[in-house]
Subunit: 418 residues, 2 copies
């Protein structure tokens, strides 16, 4: 039998990012937190950023807007540089992922007159599908929903086929799938969509801060994502959107607001959108929330996204080794790609009693995973704040819990498990 | 000559809300802040609420969502009760005013099939007009923009006339006009719109927290507003929306997101909106921002909106008396209704050199007003955080500055003045 704990300690000893763990708030409890892909741990620097913003509100009052007015662009530029492989002036931090997705899908449909098909896959994140269903219900779009491999996610050939009739306005997919953790081939899928004349919009919520995104190099047109997972910006922190610079002039947000107006304080004029990415702003941006985004994005920039990717690979590889050796014999199967280049930073274990397994982990083993219907125990291995030792210990506790049948004694109905 | 300072001190001595001034952060500088209707002062309690939320993030991590999930409704209920004259389950705190306005205008159009005219007035707040212009440009609406009295704002008879052809889906207006401070007759205008079969949507940004709103009693259908003015929730704090309970089932948000889904974590299902007001949620709500909204709304509730209205009347009446006596002879005119029952808590002074006057006040008199194009010096007299003595002192400084011609020496071009 392998001494997983020793193996994990060896990996931690060789991990160049190990010191980053202490840059986050931890607790003294025996809790092992493997849900950083749902809500990331708090960077210690975030508290200071938030406090400084509160002080600026108190001290500068409305004068603070001389600086705050640029906050969505400034934070967007930081995300572009440190996280997204984009250029300055292509990213805004604002609104929620859902609202940003709505704005960009609507804008993409407007930029492709004569086409109204939007392609996505059935395993795309629920809010993404809901936004598309809403646009379809209003008659603005026709959906083409692909049934892709539940573990590997959409392949370029499927997208090429879906766009072959030259009727697709937009392909929208998640870069890393929320349930399986599958990492889509950004470049190949983008090329496949472009071959059919479609624009491509990527949801980066589960990839940004865990793996490189390379929006620029991939040729991607549009993207959105949240900041509260691997970017550690706190509950309900502002989301972001990306619009390739060459497209900005031809896309219009359906939600025309005063922060997207070319001359915001010439209030007597009709609406005329800003030339650049600001045209995708709507209302007053959430200044307090943006402060925390900066703290998280700077940590990613400091660690370096390539080193973060390597750590994600190392953590997930260790997890999969332990799952294969210890948990597959107990009825689990792996719901995440085995090829390290094809996954993000979370691992999904499938089990018929996944909901009870999750509850048992939380209530009896001080391990926090999350449950994703219908049958997945999702383990988020946030690279900057998780050690190999935690991974080994959590999976050992899971094995012991199953061996003792603890999960079978969980009562109640399936509800949200966090 | 009147001793304005003495008169102001007498009014302060008799003011039952005077103690509330110390519940806000103030500075030692000689600055007089009369822009609380742009960004309100920070309640001292807000810092603690924000800090507690940061602690909850750090300590509870994803488990915090067991409580946060209800935050938009909880804060909405607080606003409904303390500020808006609405019932529990009718108000959500979420998104920005612009995004909420977009959602509700879109929903109202959907609920009035066969009608596509939206009525507003030319002096409505710019972002409101921009949202409507966007919907008109997309073909979803036809605008009927009224030219109302620039000081008194829209009258019920004008609305009745605008809706007479029974083709109006929605009337949307500001309760208090951002420039003039005119207070619209919520009930009479709502009745006039209903007589023409239209729904009514009120923007409460400049009235909520300054005067009673009485959504329930007025029969209003829909409302939106921001929380960073008289609700003192900080820069870019979450906005709110109101949907009368009897209408909730028949209105659908165009932005279908996972927080508006009936069973949010049954992720494999198609979208089905929540039965109640939650259907107007879209993405993940901004938890940090909501904490500050609570602090501001509770102060309003504690002071009582009727007492706040009385204080607003007293402050604006004093201001108008001083303007009439000291500033009208120097070339100013009043841009705000003289009848105290027809105005909110800010006073607008019109002057051909309003921009230079504002700059001179800020740079040479330590008074912070704001400039609103083309010719208004706007003085926000936030009832809970402003004293009569500040009003008298600010206007005395303004008089002296004009007498000395300080404003004539301001160089540069008109830009935003805050």
């Amino acid at each position: 039998v392998t001494d997983w704990a020793q193996r994990a300690r060896d990996l931690d000893a060789a991990d160049p990012l190990a010191p980053f763990r202490s840059r986050f708030a931890h607790d003294d409890a025996p809790r092992i937190y493997l849900d950083g892909n749902s809500l990331g741990r708090m960077p210690l620097a975030a508290a200071g950023r938030i406090e400084a913003t509160v002080q600026a509100w108190q001290r500068e009052l409305v004068g603070g807007w001389h600086s705050w007015i640029d906050a969505p662009v400034r934070t967007g530029d930081l995300l572009a540089e440190a996280v997204l492989g984009a250029r300055a002036g292509e990213v805004l931090a604002c609104d929620s992922t859902t609202v940003n997705l709505y704005k960009l899908v609507h804008a993409a449909l407007g930029a492709r007159p004569g086409r109204r098909v939007v392609v996505t896959d059935r395993d795309n994140f629920p809010t993404d599908r809901y936004v598309l269903e809403g646009l379809a219900a209003s008659g603005a779009a026709t959906l083409r929903v692909l049934d892709c491999d539940p573990v590997l996610g959409p392949a370029a050939a499927e997208i090429e086929h879906a766009c072959a009739a030259n009727d697709v306005a937009l392909v929208t997919l998640s870069h890393v799938a929320y349930r399986s953790g599958a990492l889509a081939d950004l470049r190949a899928i983008t090329d496949a969509a472009h071959a059919g004349g479609a624009l491509v919009l990527w949801d980066l919520s589960h990839s940004a801060g865990a793996v490189p995104v390379d929006l620029e190099a991939s040729g991607a047109d549009l993207a959105v994502g949240c900041t509260y997972k691997y970017l550690n910006a706190g509950p309900g922190a502002p989301a972001y959107l990306y619009v390739r610079r060459s497209l900005q002039g031809s896309l219009r947000s359906p939600i025309q607001g005063w922060f997207g107006q070319r001359d915001q304080f010439a209030m007597e004029r009709p609406y005329e959108p800003d030339d650049g990415v600001r045209r995708f702003l709507a209302g007053t941006p959430p200044i307090l929330g943006l402060a925390a985004v900066d703290a998280g994005a700077e940590l990613v920039g400091e660690a370096g996204i390539e080193r973060i990717r390597a750590k994600a690979g190392s953590l997930t590889t260790l997890a999969i080794e332990i799952v294969d050796a210890e948990l597959v014999p107990l009825g689990f199967s792996l719901g995440t790609p085995r090829d390290v280049t094809l996954r993000g930073a979370h691992v999904s274990l499938r089990h018929p009693e996944a909901w009870r397994v999750c509850r048992a982990l939380i209530e009896h083993a001080h391990v926090v995973p999350d449950f994703r219907p219908p049958d997945s125990v999702r383990l988020g291995l946030s690279p900057l704040s998780t050690s190999h030792e935690e991974v080994a210990e959590a999976l050992t506790r899971l094995r012991d819990l199953i061996l003792e049948g603890v999960h079978l004694r969980i009562a109640g109905e399936r509800t949200r498990v966090t």
